[in-house]
């Protein structure tokens, strides 16, 4: 008997490992939220014969078992460790691992022209042709364009310079295209992009804000950086995907401010209800995993912040603008913010109703090239 067991000892050990993980997965308490992956864990599917026949039930059951494997995060870390440290890959889940643990969103040269990008540019062109107020467009280059020395060697990244040249060519005659490349490049040795996240830092946004003021002839605010609050241990979206073992966590900087922000529940074209007022910086969010979401409380479809300056500005944006908008508050009496990921109407009614004097289109170039909501900007009024 003993020799039989000894013969199949490796099998017994592996079967033992499988059974332990399997039982733990079945009976350990289930998590509702996969925090690092920033999504809800699948819930156990309810059985129906129709779902079983179509295969939906089985698929959802597989999702459920994937999401609730015991030590799920540990397995993902181990996989990334093997990929990055043993197989020495320079990318993981479409994130490139650069020098000094700087991470980049992978945007390689591709056979297809990016149709979405040119669609969005022409949507903006149409909008700018008919806009009643001045429009400024600021598309922020990704770290890959500014910190290119830190990219993995020979990475065939798509040229953001030619994308911006195209944008300028199409939109410059219709409004102002603010190119912040030179400014960011001049400060490339400073901490202007997060290492572990796809956003720019508050400092990076501030340099772009200075450019914006210079261009529009406004006096920029001059915050005391000594007074800024630093939030340590920020692990961003890139880290969630790479779990890079040599990661240095980021630091988020913000300036405490008393301005009130009102988020609106949008129910139609320029039809919305005000929610409870809140701060521009959602402080409790700094204790959560997704710390960047503290700026403007995430990405509401439409919100309005009261400022200390004159005039009203409407910012149409992706999340890059979230740490930029607070700087505008010293220059404007009101800043409205529209995020087309949760807003689906044209702008003309909104601009007219709220009396905005100017519009700033502020996106990361990579985000702009993929945005699927922005085309609504020209949605006819009559709809």
């Amino acid at each position: 008997m003993k020799s039989k067991l000894w013969t199949m000892f490796p099998s017994l050990v592996i079967l033992g490992i499988v059974c332990v993980i399997s039982l733990l997965s079945l009976f350990a308490p289930k998590q509702e939220m996969l925090t690092v992956e920033n999504r809800k864990a699948s819930s156990i599917p309810s059985f129906s014969f129709a779902d079983w026949m179509s295969g939906d039930y089985q698929e959802r059951l597989q999702d459920y078992s994937n999401d609730h494997v015991a030590f799920r995060q540990g397995w993902i870390h181990l996989k990334c460790f093997v990929d990055e440290m043993l197989l020495m890959k320079t990318e993981e889940d479409d994130i490139l691992l650069g020098k000094d643990s700087q991470m980049f969103t992978k945007e390689f040269v591709s056979a297809d022209e990016n149709e979405r990008f040119s669609k969005n540019v022409s949507a903006l062109a149409t909008f700018m042709e008919t806009a009643q107020v001045p429009v400024t467009v600021m598309l922020v280059p990704s770290p890959a364009a500014i910190l290119s020395e830190q990219l993995p060697a020979y990475a065939p990244m798509v040229s953001e310079d030619s994308m911006l040249a195209y944008v300028k060519n199409e939109l410059q005659p219709l409004g102002t295209v603010l190119d912040v490349r030179d400014t960011l490049y001049a400060h490339k040795d400073e901490y202007i992009y997060y290492r572990t996240d796809h956003h720019w830092t508050t400092l990076g946004a501030y340099y772009a804000y200075l450019d914006f003021c210079r261009q529009s002839g406004k006096e920029p605010c001059n915050p005391d950086w000594e007074q800024a609050v630093q939030i340590e241990d920020f692990y961003g979206t890139h880290y969630s995907k790479t779990r890079y073992p040599l990661t240095r966590p980021d630091t988020i900087t913000y300036f405490p401010m008393d301005n009130q922000m009102i988020e609106y529940k949008v129910t139609g074209d320029a039809v919305f209800e005000a929610q409870e007022p809140q701060g521009v910086i959602d402080l409790p969010q700094f204790h959560e995993y997704d710390k960047y979401a503290a700026f403007l409380g995430g990405n509401p479809g439409y919100c309005v912040i009261a400022g200390q300056g004159e005039g009203k500005i409407l910012v149409v944006k992706d999340s890059y603008a979230n740490c930029f908008v607070p700087f505008l508050l010293s220059n404007y009496e009101q800043a409205g913010v529209v995020d087309y990921r949760s807003y689906a109407y044209g702008l003309s009614n909104l601009v007219e109703k709220e009396g905005y004097d100017e519009i700033l289109i502020l996106y990361s170039l990579q985000g702009f090239a993929k945005d699927t909501g922005l085309v609504s900007i020209n949605r006819p009024v009559s709809e």
Partner: protein, 463 residues
């Protein structure tokens, strides 16, 4: 449910194996059959009934052929009927989608038929055909026990991607009523399963990313890539295909071994071959042998003169090509191998025997180029642009980044494809502790890939 999924490894497999071990010998086939039906139903419930019906119909035809009173003419009639049913159904499913697309284009209509290929149908129908032919030629008696027969055809280790094991080869295992699985078989099975899993999830899936960088939906594309990058990607694809398929076959044979069935190996380090003829004796062995025994030899093989031999080879290679899919590249690929093998048979044979090193290089070159054709199915990359890029040097996006990113994986894959762990296993054979630790590490790493690849990239949506 793939073998390389969480559901299979952590839940189905331990439960299925334990149940199989616990029940008495005479119930084992019934239990294995039920487990196989559940396994299949998990993938596609709709086609389970089709599979069961097909098995049943073939069972009846074979029983008919086996009756003592049955005359030779009737036996032949039964065989032809059953083969016609099996082959026409296979053809309908394999080429139905293509045919309906073709008809729609002509008639401007909008009809679809046989648009989904039922899981494993190419494999289990080939098993059934081999069984019918073997019963007809008297190689085996028709199976009377429907449970045993269904277990053979539908057993879960083999239902999805083979290997195409013949009834005559597995019959002894199925009929062994007081089946006690030997500890040695369990160990051997575990080893095969773990190595197969590692090949599939760690190496093959990683290399797959390199190929899709070139040929994927948002890949660099053939136009913009340099010749060097295309060669690198085709090389990665060749390794991926081997590691993926042989890995899956090893997992299958490992599972069979753990249940006391000894099955023929499907891959025998084909990239170490010294000729293309040898390559095909070592690559997807059960399929090559199937075509040899059930098409080539019945057609007369090489016994009816040179012209007939050449024609037989052409038929076999066209069939092998189109068995893989309905796109033109598979046909080209089949004819390509026909031409190479013909050349080898009549011209290169003695040359290759004399120059061994040249034989290795030549075989690898032919195989890798062949996989290029095989992969260029026209969705993103066509055969001609690919071959043009491979053989007419042109510049474009460089291969350097990809060599840096996938270099270690490529080297490791070459080592594994060259039999590295077979050698390692030889050293571990009598060191049980060491073998246990090594296998456990490989298994845990593989499991991390199984779980780690299930992350759905919904990150940007939420931020």
């Amino acid at each position: 449910m793939l073998f390389s999924s969480v559901t299979f490894i952590l839940f189905f497999l331990p439960a299925a194996l334990l149940l199989y071990y616990i029940v008495p010998g005479k119930c084992k086939n019934t239990v294995l059959l039920l487990e196989s039906l559940i396994f299949y139903a998990f993938g596609n419930m709709r086609y389970l009934l089709l599979a069961i019906c097909l098995v049943f119909v073939n069972y009846l035809f074979a029983r008919g052929m086996g009756r003592k009173s049955c005359q030779q003419r009737t036996r032949r009639f039964y065989l032809i009927m059953a083969l016609a049913a099996d082959i026409s159904l296979l053809a309908a499913f394999k080429y139905g989608a293509w045919l309906s697309m073709f008809l729609n284009r002509i008639t401007q209509g909008d009809i679809t038929f046989f648009d989904v290929l039922p899981l494993g149908i190419s494999y289990y129908l080939f098993k059934l055909i081999s069984y019918l032919c073997d019963v007809y030629t008297g190689k085996c008696e028709p199976e009377k026990n429907i449970i045993d027969f269904m277990t053979y055809v539908l057993m879960y280790p083999q239902i999805l991607v083979g290997p195409i094991i013949r009834y005559v080869d597995i019959r002894a295992g199925l009929k062994n009523r007081d089946r006690h699985v030997k500890p040695e078989e369990i160990r051997q099975g575990t080893r095969l399963f773990v190595y197969g899993l590692a090949k599939k999830v760690i190496l093959a899936d990683t290399l797959g990313m390199l190929w899709s960088q070139l040929a994927g939906a948002d890949g660099i594309g053939i136009e913009k890539a340099s010749s060097a990058l295309v060669w690198l990607a085709v090389l990665a694809y060749s390794l991926q295909l081997y590691l993926d398929f042989s890995g899956y076959s090893e997992m299958s044979n490992g599972l069979s071994a753990m249940m006391g069935f000894s099955c023929k190996q499907n891959f025998a380090y084909p990239y170490l071959s010294r000729s293309v003829t040898e390559f095909w004796r070592r690559w997807h062995i059960t399929l090559s042998e199937w075509f040899r025994d059930y098409v080539y030899i019945p057609l007369g093989g090489n016994r009816k003169g040179m012209m007939c031999h050449i024609l037989n080879m052409l038929i076999v290679w066209i069939l092998t090509g189109i068995w893989h899919g309905h796109t033109v590249n598979f046909l080209v690929w089949g004819v390509y191998y026909f031409a190479i093998l013909l050349l080898e048979k009549y011209v290169l044979k003695t040359l290759l025997e004399r120059h061994k090193a040249a034989g290795h290089i030549y075989t690898l070159f032919v195989a890798v180029t062949g996989w290029g054709i095989f992969a260029a199915d026209g969705t993103q990359i066509g055969v001609l642009p690919l071959l043009h890029k491979m053989f007419v040097f042109s510049s474009g996006e460089s291969a350097l980044y990809f060599i840096r990113c996938y270099g270690v994986t490529l080297l490791l894959s070459v080592a594994v494809s060259g039999g590295f762990y077979q050698k390692l296993q030889g050293k571990l054979e009598d060191r049980r502790w060491l073998e246990t630790v090594w296998l456990s590490i490989v298994f845990l790493l593989s499991l991390s890939y199984v779980v780690g690849s299930t992350g759905r990239a919904a990150l940007y949506a939420g931020f």
